[in-house]
């Protein structure tokens, strides 16, 4: 456990010893700020129907943060170690392959969670401005954060997998973005293809990250969504561990 914690601390150190971590947090903060202005403008216009709480989670700003963020966070995890050679010194210590994979995933998840904290400030500000109690309502907020966490968990495990495949951080981040964007686009399927047959439609709505997030934002915890994201995370972590082990097969 001590080794695992040392590795997680190191992962966070990588983010905050350089500018990368601060730049990422700043950009997320900026996008949250824009979304706040956007929501307030919409509310003033009075054109928005439906529950106001969902406004943020349907906005372009939200997905502009959620889709690329995991790929930016995870691009370094394995690729940077491989290109700098520290991967070899890491893998010649008595640390297991799975321990390394889980520590990199956990480190990325902690950083991911930290970057979402400004969202709480946005919600608090909205509550202050609109006098709408629904903003920052404990249960709904917890559900939304659970959704953000679960989707992020899957995306981050995809990012770890992409990073393990290559030495180049650039390639790793693009590959990870391709995975996350791909899944997100598949999720748009039900909305785009009205005439899709029932089976396909049902399948697409099951894997629709957009729909999952809608449910979480509305305070619904659907066990199917939870299982989908957790199994997806495990699958990609398993694949990452296999890639890490693959040096033993060559």
């Amino acid at each position: 456990m001590a080794v695992f914690l040392a590795l997680v601390r190191r992962e966070l150190g990588v983010a905050f010893n350089s500018l990368t971590g601060y730049v990422v947090v700043s950009v997320v903060l900026l996008l949250c700020g824009f979304s706040l202005v956007d929501i307030v403008t919409k509310l003033n216009g009075g054109r928005e129907a439906g529950p106001v709480v969902g406004l943020f989670y349907r906005s372009a700003y939200f997905w502009l943060i959620l889709l690329p963020l995991p790929s930016v966070i995870t691009m370094r995890s394995f690729a940077a170690e491989r290109s700098s050679g520290t991967y070899e010194s890491l893998m010649t210590t008595p640390v297991g392959d799975w321990q390394v994979v889980l520590a990199k995933y956990a480190g990325a998840m902690v950083f991911y969670a930290l970057t979402w904290l400004p969202l709480l400030a946005v919600l608090a500000a909205l509550r202050q401005i609109t006098h709408e109690e629904a903003f920052l309502e404990v249960r709904a907020t917890c559900c939304a954060f659970l959704g953000i966490g679960l989707i992020g968990s899957l995306f981050i495990s995809m990012g770890c997998f992409a990073s393990a495949l290559t030495r180049s951080q650039m390639v790793a981040s693009m590959l990870a973005f391709l995975f996350t964007m791909g899944l997100w686009l598949v999720g748009l399927g039900p909305a785009l293809a009205d005439n899709a047959d029932a089976g396909t439609g049902r399948f697409l709505s099951h894997v629709s990250v957009l729909r999952h997030m809608d449910d979480f934002a509305a305070g619904i915890i659907d066990s199917r969504h939870v299982v989908f994201h957790l199994t997806g995370t495990l699958l990609f972590l398993f694949l990452t561990a296999r890639v890490v082990e693959s040096r033993k097969w060559k």
Partner: protein, 315 residues
């Protein structure tokens, strides 16, 4: 400490290591010598359990490097080629992190980090960021990392590459110091390094060991001819007469030099030292002698001699 039997590592289309067999005893400092691409790093990676061999066995401290990898890694301090370090970390922070990874407890890691900082002369820079240190200091950090968990065996892959002469000297001194208390396997393609630091040398070329012995023995066995050169002041015809039919001499060459001096080069029949014979001749004839040397082949000559044929093939 190290037992390697028929170790082979094949990559697609290339055999990096081919049937390597050698052993290293406890307390030895062994140099792994070979041109680039000879299979040194591959062998070291296998020994440090980073990757498995295609066939053959390798044991470190009695543990199989593939099946008992964790046990082996606990006993090895490995400094990979190019000494990769986390450049964003501070020296002490990095060593502490590495000590924790190698399974040392909190208190123990602090003690050991203090010890290796002193041992490697890093106390003055312990709070500096590694990326801002000179290459020489970085190399020391790499060595300190390899030593931090008190390993039985230290494996250093090209530890002085890219350093300036002063830095090379201080790193070599450090390696010598480490060699007093640890078994060391050191790879390099710089021959003088092996001559200075190692008690035994394994010369590797194209994945096979082509010579394995102490540096002195290699010089003795492989000294190509042990030629003796003398510069003597005497008339040429008398000199020719004096050196005719000497016992143990295969060949004598004469060449005129500045003034009345003549350079006499004698090649022995079976590696015998001809200096006493030459001196005796000079004394008997009352000639004037200004130089008498026996060419002693450096490891470099031996190395070139051993790998020459193969190099020409490559060219």
């Amino acid at each position: 400490m190290i037992e390697v039997r028929d170790l082979t590592k094949r990559y697609p289309g290339r055999t990096a290591v081919n049937g390597l067999t050698f052993s290293v005893g406890r307390g030895e400092v062994v140099g792994f010598l070979g041109p680039n691409g000879a299979g040194k790093s591959t062998t070291m990676r296998i020994l440090s359990s980073f990757m498995p061999a295609t066939s053959g066995t390798a044991r470190v401290a009695g543990f199989d490097v593939f099946h008992q990898a964790d046990e082996v890694r606990r006993r090895i301090g490995y400094m990979p080629e190019n000494n990769p370090l986390h450049l964003d970390m501070r020296v002490r922070e990095y060593l502490k992190f590495r000590a924790r990874l190698k399974g040392l407890g909190w208190r123990r890691s602090r003690e050991r980090v203090d010890t290796v900082l002193r041992q490697c002369g890093l106390v003055d820079v312990e709070r500096r960021i590694i990326g801002q240190l000179s290459k020489g200091y970085r190399q020391r950090v790499g060595l300190a990392d390899a030593l931090v968990h008190e390993p039985d065996l230290v494996i250093l892959d090209e530890p002085t590459i890219g350093l300036d002469p002063n830095q090379i000297r201080s790193v070599r001194a450090l390696i010598k110091e480490v060699g007093r208390s640890h078994t060391v396997l050191l790879s390099t393609h710089i021959l003088s390094e092996v001559e200075m630091t190692c008690s035994r040398v394994l010369i590797l070329n194209r994945g096979t060991i082509i010579a394995a012995d102490t540096t002195e023995n290699l010089q003795r066995h492989l000294s190509l001819d042990g030629q003796v050169v003398a510069e003597i002041e005497a008339p040429m015809n008398i000199l020719r007469e004096g050196f005719r039919d000497l016992p143990g001499v295969a060949r004598v060459d004469f060449s005129e030099m500045d003034g009345d001096f003549i350079r006499v080069a004698l090649t022995p029949k079976d590696g015998e030292d001809l200096r006493p014979i030459v001196f005796e001749q000079v004394r008997q004839h009352g000639w004037k002698l200004r130089e008498l040397t026996r060419s002693r082949h450096s490891l470099e000559d031996i190395f070139v001699h051993l790998t020459k044929g193969r190099k020409e093939e490559l060219l």
